[in-house]
Amino acid sequence: MPTIISDHQVFTPRNLAEALQFMAQHRDEGWRPLAGGSEVMTHIYDNRAAATGWINLAPLRDQLAGIHEDGILEDGIQEGCIHEGGWVRIGALTTLTELRRSAVLQTICPLIRRAAAATGGVQRQNRATVGGRIVSASPAGETLPVWLALDAEVELSSRDATRCVAYRQFIQEPRQTAIASDELLTAIMIPIRARPNPRLLFRKVASRAAGAIGKMVFTAIAGLDAAGHYQDVRLAFGGMGPLPLRACGAEQLAEGHAPSDALGAQAANQLSAELTPVDDLRSTADYRLRTARNLTRAFVAGHIGIAGHIGEQPS
């Protein structure tokens, strides 16, 4: 029999401090934060959500939603203010719709916008939050390979401390993260890194255009130096194993070489050693690997991907 949220205990804090205080007092009692609910609500409905009760984060939106670049609010951002060494801070309760519409992200990294737009359908994007997607750590989560490719860090707050952890270290086990039971993920930090002639790709392969969990997700970033050689190549995947991962071997193989069909083929061949996809309800290991190889080959060969400095409008 399905259940609904009103069958459960819910604690609603007034602000972040109160939430963290509650979490400190009740740590290890099985209380779990509830953000947009796009993942949790389906688990509650199916009776798969094991929790003593839920900490309703909705009142924290004032503090934890929004996109800031070096501390400047999005509204205040000026064209040309992007600079090497800065950070973009995305509040954990920022919705995917807000990511999709963000002019700052469109300029700095349009991959984030594309990943947000590829997640679920519009209704889910309106509810789902950046932090919720990171903490629920679905193996096929669309935004997760992007955080990996961008060397993002997560900000974790508890009543007594705040720490930052590299996203790649934060995800250790399938569907688990390094968050402590009294910590709340409060933001994700994206380092701004200038690459020469950047090329970007985000691709979700799914059974249909919206409202489907991906069979696989591929995101790629690469610069080309003055000599036309690859610099700082990132090839990141979702749905190709229990965790989002980077194909470091294929990245290294491409690094320092000029794009070509032969280089693309070499990088694609390298993937077989790095990816461990499985058969499941949505697709097969064979198909996932073929697709990963083909997309990698086409990207490294220089056929697919978009130029990095983008003028397109958010949808």
Partner: protein, 750 residues
């Protein structure tokens, strides 16, 4: 003086549309509780077993609930559909995982959940049979002596001899998958004990099936059973035979509890344990002359019927009748069988066997053209049924022969020939391009097909459909049929058709959701509302008008005067009612045993064109546009007709490309609407519906059937377009990227 403008061919708005738009429409689960008990089903957890019994956990207080097993059934333990093989509750054997073994009713959801957890089904496992070949081997018997629910053979001329002397014989085997109906509203029933009988409300297409079934189950006279179809949120055939089981379950619980009991399936339960479209394997051997003249066809078709017979004996008949497609051939042998397996029973689904048959024949014909080196358009032009041509059953189609016209019109509307050439050019040059344009391939394909109007053969005679028109005190007229509104617009169309016969404005005709006390049985299924029932309504309307004019002693062309006259006669105590029953046209002949003769009063002919683009990096298919041309005789309501085509094409594209039921031990694994993908609005291309209106002479208004036909075109058109794009003939739907990509890569290695 005013006369009435005909409402036929007008886009009259849906009568229940505004309530649905506002969210005011009440479905069965929206009804106020009013003390109704909740019910649930105890199911077997193995696909094939001997049933030993149920074990109740004595820690639960069983006095709090009512539990029913087969032993408690007062009447006969049967779900009567076509055969009588399916028990309402399992008695000796389990034939599929999820088969109902017991029913529980409880005063609240929590108690129900506890009770369901406190009961287990005891079984002794038997080897299961899941696929068609295993079933045909008959090592394990599930049904009868050989696992075959029914065999239908159709013979025309001598196919064996024709294939021996043919210049070229081409073989092909095609497969189609199961498909989930995916109606918006899951199955649900509410049954109420009325003191000496049962009233059942629920989501259903065929209320009269339920009257008969419940009377048998409870050993009550039929007049004690009242069935009121509730507003129904989609059906597609899924609420044709299955509600006969579910309504029986609700009725059993109402009888035992002496209360009102509500039995509603959750989406997952509905997807796992209710019927699907029959999966099929279809083999063709087809003989041609060197220049592509069709000389012989052998079709061997097997459908997977699942654990019980349900509608399968009728589905296999319709599949066989459509198996040769819209093609003229003098020598045809069709052998069609439907077999038992330990899957949940397959059941009625829009198209009713014809989609599987039509997919195979038209994909195969297109493939044959490629093998013969003939343009597939020319192959079709050469072989399609023309005026006075004959179907596989020997039926002479007379003037009802629009195959050629729908083909030519579709070619013209879709600019087929020019686009086919442009796509071939695009594909030839792909490898020479750099950048993203290197990877897509484009193709365009079509399918040519027909669908019989109404029920097959003698079934229309058995159903003896009826309609009635009844004059009211305010001069309005109520049209009584049992055409249930399931979302297709029936209530509105019934009013349009009755108004046409009566010669009055459509607003003067009242229609209501039927119940089995008031409304004659008119069997709402099989693409027949607008045509068979429509014909009866028009005839009844004319008779009603004539009767009013006779009693008044004058003609009454002015609708206001007519209405005033009806009101006056009714006020004067006169009963104004006209009933009309179907009788088949006297010239129609049908031999059920040999499947020879006039299978249907008319055929709807159609051509569907699909253009698509394949991403050769991923095997993903984007359908670019679909053009569907059909000769429907007469369009009753253009908006609804276009809606049927768009919805049917969407359902057909889903069946062709996306909808993959993943089975494991006889259970659907992807039983939710996230993992079982039906197309969303974002997946659908522009769909253009073009209607031809060559009236059929066996209905007074000329209309033919439309409900099922549109879903039949996309699958063969898509497979044919894929061959045009990739040069590969795919023999299976759904043809997913997991099939397309390895095939493409293997071809490029050759």
């Amino acid at each position: 003086m005013k006369t009435t403008e005909s409402a036929l061919g007008k886009s009259v708005l849906r009568r229940e549309g505004a309530a649905k738009l506002r969210g005011d429409a009440q479905f069965i689960d929206d009804l106020p509780r009013d003390g109704a008990w909740f019910a649930g089903t105890v199911r077997a957890k193995v696909p094939h077993a001997r049933l030993l019994g149920v074990r109740r956990d004595e820690r639960f207080d069983w006095d709090r609930v009512v539990l029913i097993t087969a032993a408690d059934i007062p009447g006969e333990n049967v779900v009567p559909v076509v055969l009588r093989d399916q028990p309402s509750l399992a008695e000796d054997f389990i034939r599929y995982h999820g088969q109902p073994v017991a029913l529980v009713a409880a005063p609240d959801q929590e108690t129900l959940a506890l009770a369901l957890e406190s009961i287990s089904v005891l079984t002794s496992p038997l080897p299961p049979v899941f696929d068609i070949d295993e079933s045909l081997e008959a090592k394990t018997i599930i049904f009868g002596e050989d696992n075959v629910f029914r065999t239908v053979e159709i013979n025309k001329g001598d196919a064996t001899a024709a294939l021996q002397t043919a210049d070229v014989v081409i073989e092909g085997e095609h497969h189609t998958g199961a498909q989930e109906h995916a109606y918006l509203e899951p199955q649900g029933m509410q049954a109420e004990w009325t003191g000496d009988g049962i009233t059942i409300r629920g989501s259903m297409q065929c209320p009269y099936y339920l009257v008969k079934a419940v009377a048998e189950l409870l050993d009550l006279p039929q007049e004690k059973i009242l069935v009121i179809p509730h507003l129904t949120g989609g059906a597609f055939g899924g609420k044709d035979d299955f509600p006969t089981m579910l309504g029986g379950h609700a009725a059993l619980l109402a009888w035992k509890t002496r209360k009102t009991v509500r039995l509603i399936y959750e989406r997952g339960e509905d997807m796992r344990f209710t019927s699907k479209r029959h999966p099929a394997r279809i083999r063709h051997r087809t003989g041609f002359t060197h220049d592509g003249q069709l000389v012989g066809m052998q079709v061997e078709m097997v459908l997977n019927g699942g654990a019980y017979g349900t509608m399968s004996p009728l589905v296999i008949s319709r599949a066989a009748i459509h198996a040769a497609g819209p093609y003229q051939c003098d020598n045809i042998h069709i052998s069609a069988r439907v077999v038992a397996t330990n899957h949940p029973p397959s059941g009625a689904f829009r198209g009713f066997g014809a989609p599987q048959a039509l997919f195979a024949v038209d994909a195969h014909l297109d493939y044959c053209a490629s093998q013969l080196g003939v343009d597939p358009l020319e192959l079709r032009r050469k072989n399609l049924i023309r005026r006075n041509g004959t179907q596989a059953t020997g039926q002479n189609v007379g003037d009802d022969a629009s195959a050629g016209e729908v083909l030519e019109r579709a070619l013209q509307e879709s600019d087929f020939v020019a686009r086919r050439e442009a796509y071939a050019e695009f594909n030839r040059e792909a490898e020479s391009r750099r950048g993203a344009d290197r990877f897509p391939r484009r193709g365009i394909g079509l399918s040519l097909f027909m669908h019989g109007t109404g029920l097959s053969g003698y079934e229309e005679v058995f159903f003896h459909s009826g309609v009635a028109l009844h004059g009211n005190a305010d001069g309005s007229i109520t049209a009584l049929t049992s055409q249930v509104e399931v979302g297709q617009g029936t209530r509105t169309i019934v009013a349009q058709l009755a108004a046409e016969g009566l010669g009055i404005p459509v607003e003067y005709v009242l229609t209501e959701q039927p119940d089995t006390n008031q409304h004659p049985d008119s069997g709402p299924m099989a693409s027949r509302t607008a045509t068979i029932i429509g014909g009866l309504l028009i005839t009844a309307g004319k008779r009603f008008r004539a009767e009013v004019e006779r009693r008044q002693g004058s003609l009454l062309p002015d609708p206001l005067v007519f209405r005033a006259t009806v009101a006056k006669l009714v006020a004067g105590g006169e009963r104004l009612e006209v009933r009309e029953h179907y009788s088949p046209p006297p010239e129609m002949r049908w031999d059920e045993e040999k499947h020879q003769g006039d299978a249907y009063p008319a055929y709807t002919w159609s051509c569907c064109v699909a253009a698509l683009e394949v991403d050769t990096l991923t095997g993903e298919v984007a359908v670019l546009d679909v053009t569907a041309v059909q000769d429907v005789g007469k369009v009753v309501n253009p908006m609804f007709a276009a809606g049927q085509v768009q919805g049917g094409v969407a359902q057909g594209l889903g069946w062709a490309l996306l909808e993959n039921v993943v089975w494991k031990n006889g259970v659907m694994q992807n039983a939710n609407l996230a993992d079982y993908s039906i197309p969303t609005a974002m997946d659908l291309p522009p769909i253009r519906a073009v209607f031809l209106e060559h009236p059929q002479h066996r209905a007074p208004h000329g209309a033919k059937g439309l409900g099922e036909l549109p879903m039949e075109g996309p699958a063969p058109a898509v497979v044919n377009a894929l061959r045009s794009a990739l040069g590969i003939h795919f023999r299976r739907v759904p043809v997913t990227p997991e099939i397309i990509l390895p095939a493409w890569e293997a071809r490029n290695l050759e």
